[in-house]
Each structure stands twice: as C-alpha cells, then as structure tokens.
C-alpha cells in the first residue's frame, strides 16, 4: 500500500512532466475526450431534464389517478372488438360517484377544441377541458393567481374559466388575467384563475399549461352535445397501496352501471398513468439510448486518440522504461505509470468537457429543459477515469511486458 502510494505519486509527477514536455500533442488528444465528455454529459443532462419534466407533468396531473374511459389508452386488443362500445355518459359518472367509496375525489372530463379571443388576441385550437370543481382534487395544480371554479359555479355552469399558464401568457401578455373576460363562440367567460407553470411539455396535448378548464355544463351548452364524446371519469386513489382495490371496486361498479352480465366482457377501460409512463419509456427511452450511443461514439473516438498517443508515448520512452526496469520497477509499476498518464490526459479533457457541458447546457436550456446536477460532475469524472483506464491499458501493458535488456538497447 505504501509502495503503491509512492508509485502513484511518482506516476503523477511523470505524467505531469510528460504532458508538459508534449503540450500540443497532449492538448490535441485531450480535445477528443473534451468533445466526448461534453456531448455525453450534455446528453445526459438533457435526458434528465426531459425526464424531470415528464415526472413533474405526471405528478401535476395526479399520479394515482384512475381514468375510466370508453377505450384503453394504448390499445393492444383488435380494434373491431371494441369499436362498438357505448360512450360513457354523465349519468354513468353520477352513478359511479354515488357508489364508489374508495376514491378521494371523482370528476368527469370531456374535451373540445376552441378558439379563444381577448380583444384582438386569438389563440386557435386550444384544448378546453370541461369538468367539475372536484377535478382540482384529482390534480396537484398550483395557481399563479386566482382559484379553480367552485361548486356553485360548477353546478350552475357559470361562464367562468381557469387558464393554463401558456394560454394566459398569450391572451394576457401583461399578466392581469383575473376577472377579465375572454370570448369563445361569441360567449363571454370570466377568468377566475391562472395555473402556475406545471412545466410538463412532454405530456403534449395533456400539458395543463396549454389548456383551459371550465364547468362541464358549458361544454354541452355551447360547444358540443352531451353524447358527442365519451366522458372520462377521473378517480383519485387515496394512496398507491389502494390502487388495486380501487380498480377492483371501479370495475364492479362500472359493470353494474353498464348492465353487463357475468359472461360479457368489460365495455369500458380503467386506465392508469402507468400506461403513459410505459409509452414514454418505450419511445423517449429509445431516443435516449440512441442519443447516448451516438454521443458515446464521440467519446469512443476520443478514447482511441488517447490510446494512439499512449502507444506513441510508450514507443518513444522505451529507453526510459528500460532504465526504470533495470533499477527495480516492477511490471505493475510500469503498467500503473502509463495508465496514470492516460487517466491524467482523460481527466484534463473530462474537466474541460464538464465546463463545456455546463456552459452549453445553459444555452440548450433555452430550447429544451436540462437538469444539471452533481451527478453530471460525477458522470464526467467517472467516464474520464474509465476511459483513461480502458484506453491506457493496452499501451501500458505493452510497456510493462517489455524486456529490460531490449528496452535498454533501444535508441
């Protein structure tokens, strides 16, 4: 151990001198690692950022929710078996709400796409979610101002709306949305609340930032018939441990409501966000893996550069290796010395790469969410170390197994 420390210190000072003696060569080689580490770290922070955004979105929508729908979200059955299912209706919702004991909140949901106007400003194709005041209880929404519509407004189908943060920004650039009116289909709606940014662009059309919420009765009154689209019943489960029981309960209640006999299959589907997560993992996950492989390739090229230069270095210093062996350096010592040198080169590149990644992630953050954390530092140093060991091993081994007599004779 004591010897190891002396040899490590010697190895570090040799590396320092060798790198100092070949500044340009070392710098050029380190650039390969610099680029590799920058891209890998940047990629991983982007992946982390996208993941965080997705997870935030999921938790804003409520992670323990059941969505009782006409169809399964991610259909794996043959479509013709399910195409004749009846829509879920508001009566179904009322009956379920009455019978269900386990959920802590139950709300119906229908959607429609409308154009919103505030004076001269218009937003086209905005998704409107019609629901009841209980909807809030199924989410983890936070408000930047105002509130969700209350029970009276909900039951009476008053003309009130809650805006997602992005929608509010477009319609009210000055930010004074509360108690202002917006127009849809010629009707005035009063803004009672604006959501805080939920930051979940990964959810696409489900992103609350891009939605508008209003009492469900309005949807039927102004925009579309009650039977045009199937109603989704959202049920918030008390806690994760209760999911299974709540699903079971929902299934039996729904079968009764839908009047199914024992030998008929379900004509509804109980969806969970697991489905979303699954689809997210299978698409985004693949993109992430491909991204890491591609960026990993640049690191690989950098590693080959290091390996190449280490082979050159070993060849150039054959005589030195001979001298060291003659005066008592063991194989292990020589091996360690050259691996140390490769690691030092990689660490130089890696630390520069880390700095590069920090700067770039700030820039990329303007377009894509990135999440730069301590893990990235560990990642950068870790991959530099590993790259150093891997790329340094073969050259170091060739140095270690040199015959001292041959090496001393080398000119």
């Amino acid at each position: 151990m004591k010897n190891f420390l002396f040899e490590l210190k010697e190895g570090l000072s040799i590396s320092y001198m060798a790198i100092k003696a070949n500044k340009i060569r070392s710098a050029l080689t380190a650039i390969g690692i610099f680029i590799g580490v920058t891209s890998v770290v940047l990629m991983s922070t982007a992946i982390k950022g996208i993941d965080n955004s997705f997870q935030n979105g999921i938790s804003a929508l409520g992670s323990d929710n059941l969505y009782i729908d006409k169809w399964k979200w991610f259909q794996d059955e043959e479509w013709w078996k399910t195409r004749n299912r009846k829509n879920l209706t508001m009566e179904d919702y009322e009956k379920y709400k009455e019978s269900a004991k386990l959920p802590i909140a139950v709300a119906p949901q229908v959607w429609t796409v409308q154009t919103l106007k505030n004076g001269g400003i218009t937003t086209e194709s905005t998704i409107l979610t019609g629901t009841t005041n209980e909807y809030l209880g199924t989410t983890n929404f936070t408000f930047s101002s105002g509130r969700f519509f209350n029970e009276i407004e909900s039951r009476g189908a008053r003309n009130v709306v809650v805006l997602g943060s992005d929608v509010a920004k477009i319609l009210f650039p000055k930010g004074d949305a509360i108690d202002q009116s917006i127009k849809m289909k010629g009707q005035n709606f009063r803004v009672v609340g604006v959501l805080a940014e939920q930051g979940s662009f990964m959810l696409g059309s489900m992103n609350p930032d891009k939605q508008v919420y209003l009492p469900i009765g309005n949807v039927f009154k102004y925009f579309q018939s009650e039977h045009f689209r199937s109603v989704t019943i959202i049920a918030r489960v008390a806690n994760t441990a209760m999911i299974e029981k709540t699903v079971e309960e929902a299934e039996s209640i729904m079968r009764r409501i839908r009047g199914l006999s024992y030998n008929q299959e379900d004509d509804f589907s109980i969806n969970q966000q697991q489905g979303l997560t699954k689809i997210y993992d299978s698409t985004v996950g693949i993109i992430q893996i491909v991204g890491l492989i591609v960026t990993g390739l640049s690191l690989f090229v950098g590693a080959i550069g290091i390996m190449n230069i280490m082979f050159v270095s070993v060849k150039e210093r054959t005589k030195e290796i001979g001298i060291r062996k003659a005066i008592g350096a063991k194989k292990r010592t020589i091996l360690g010395q050259f691996i140390t040198e490769a690691i030092v080169l990689c660490l130089i590149g890696g630390l520069m790469g880390l700095i590069g990644a920090v700067i770039l992630s700030k820039i990329v953050n303007q377009f894509l969410p990135t999440s730069f954390q301590a893990e990235a530092v560990i990642l950068a140093i870790g991959i530099s170390l590993i790259t150093g060991v891997i790329s340094g091993f073969a050259p170091a081994y060739s140095a270690a197994k040199m015959d001292p007599v041959e090496a001393l004779r080398y000119e």
Binding site: E10, G322, K325, A326, I327, A329, K330, V405, L408
Partner: protein, 241 residues
C-alpha cells in the same frame, strides 16, 4: 563470502530458425569486496553474461546463486526486486531520466523500494555529496557534463547500498581525463568495501580492477588476478594489499 556463484550456465537465443549459443558453459564465483573486470571482444557473450549477472535476463540452463538465493528461475517481478535492492547499474550512456533532476534520478530506486520521502531525499543527497555533486542536485542531465552525469549514475547505483555495482563500459562515452575521474571514484567505492563488476573492452580500464575474467565464444578464456593493478592518481599496488 561469495555473492555470486554461477554454475554451468548457458544462454541460447533463437534467431529465426537458428540457435545462437551466446553463452556455452560458464561457471564463476565472485566474493564480497572484489573488483572484477569482465573483458571480451564483441560477440563474445560478455554482454549476455553481464545481463545475467545483473538479473536483467535469466540463463537457459545452469544455476545462478545470488547471495545464496537461486535467481535463475525467478519471476520478472522477483528479479525486479533483486535488481532494485542488490544491484547498482552504471551504464555507458548514463541512462538518466532526461526530464528529472539529479536528485530525483538518484531517488528513483528508493521510490521503487518504498522508502519514505524524507529518508529518500536524505539518502539521495548523501549519495550525491559522496560523488562530489552537492552543488548540482537540481540540475537536469542536459545541464550536466558527461562526467557529472556519470557521477549521478554512480550515486543512483550506490543509493540503495547494493551488494554489487555493475558497470557496463562506464568510461566509454567520456574523454580520457573524465574517464580517469570516474575510475578514481570507482576505486574509492571499492576501497569503501563495495563489490564492483566492470565490463569493458579496454585493457587499460580493466587493469583498474583486481581480477580480470576474459570471455571468448561464450566460454571463460582466462580468469586471473591483475598483477600490477592500475591505481588512479599514479599510485600502484598489488592485489590483496
């Protein structure tokens, strides 16, 4: 007490499909505090013998006892340990590390021996003072003259207090005046009780030793004491005085 005891060693190299017998059959003993010169023309097997004496190489057959331990079958790592602790090399081309200063060059064998930093520095300084380089400790090899470089190499060889000093043509790259200085240094080292093996092809250098072993065609041709040892500074005296 004998340090080196070689019995019937041979060394065969495979060059292409041909076997080259660099050493046919050599037996010899070297005692503590001997000053031996090994002579021979090129191709005589002198270098091969030196490599084996220095534990840089192992014989094809035969036994090499070094301080009572058979080193002829040792692993590379064990040989490295023997070289580190027991053998001090002095080469014709000095073989110092070009990027390290004199002090660090002398420290190097002690680093591999695992000597703590403080003690290492002290011993290295002491060794450099002994060879008269107290004012050159932080000079790099290219800032030193040939003679000074060779004295650094001698200090490096001595710093581990080895059982033998193995010098391969130590004056080969020096002018005659500087060469003479180095030989004076070797004489002092010898008189301090060290064992020196000197490999050379110059009769005049070999006569500084007390015994000359002449090698020819892989065999010992002659092995005899030097009658009129050449003592630097012009003094001459006979062996075993």
């Amino acid at each position: 007490m004998n340090i080196i005891n070689i019995e019937h060693i041979s060394k065969v190299y495979q060059v292409g499909s041909e076997e080259v017998h660099a050493i046919m059959d050599i037996s010899l003993r070297i005692d503590k505090n001997e000053y031996v010169a090994i002579m021979g023309p090129s191709g005589s097997g002198k270098s091969t013998l030196m490599n084996m004496l220095g534990c840089l190489d192992t014989p094809t057959s035969g036994i090499y006892d070094f301080k009572g331990v058979n080193v002829s079958q040792m692993s590379d790592n064990d040989l490295a340990k023997v070289r580190n602790k027991e053998i001090g090399f002095v080469f014709q081309t000095f073989n110092l590390l070009p990027r390290s200063d004199a002090l660090h060059n002398v420290e190097l064998p002690l680093i591999y021996a695992g000597v703590p930093s403080q003690e290492r520095k002290e011993r290295a300084r002491e060794a450099l003072v002994n060879v008269g380089l107290e004012s050159r400790m932080h000079h790099k090899p290219n800032e030193l003259s040939g003679g000074q470089r060779q004295r650094v190499a001698v200090a490096r060889a001595l710093v581990t207090r080895p059982a033998i000093i193995l010098a391969d043509e130590p004056t080969g790259n020096l002018d005659s005046k500087t060469g003479e200085d180095i030989m004076t240094l070797f004489n002092e080292i010898y008189l301090q009780g060290n064992t020196i093996i000197l490999v050379t092809h110059e009769e005049y250098i070999a006569e500084h030793a007390a015994r000359i072993i002449r090698i020819k065609d892989g065999l010992i041709e002659r092995d005899e004491p030097v009658k009129n040892r050449f003592i630097p500074n012009g003094r001459k005296f006979t062996v075993n005085q």
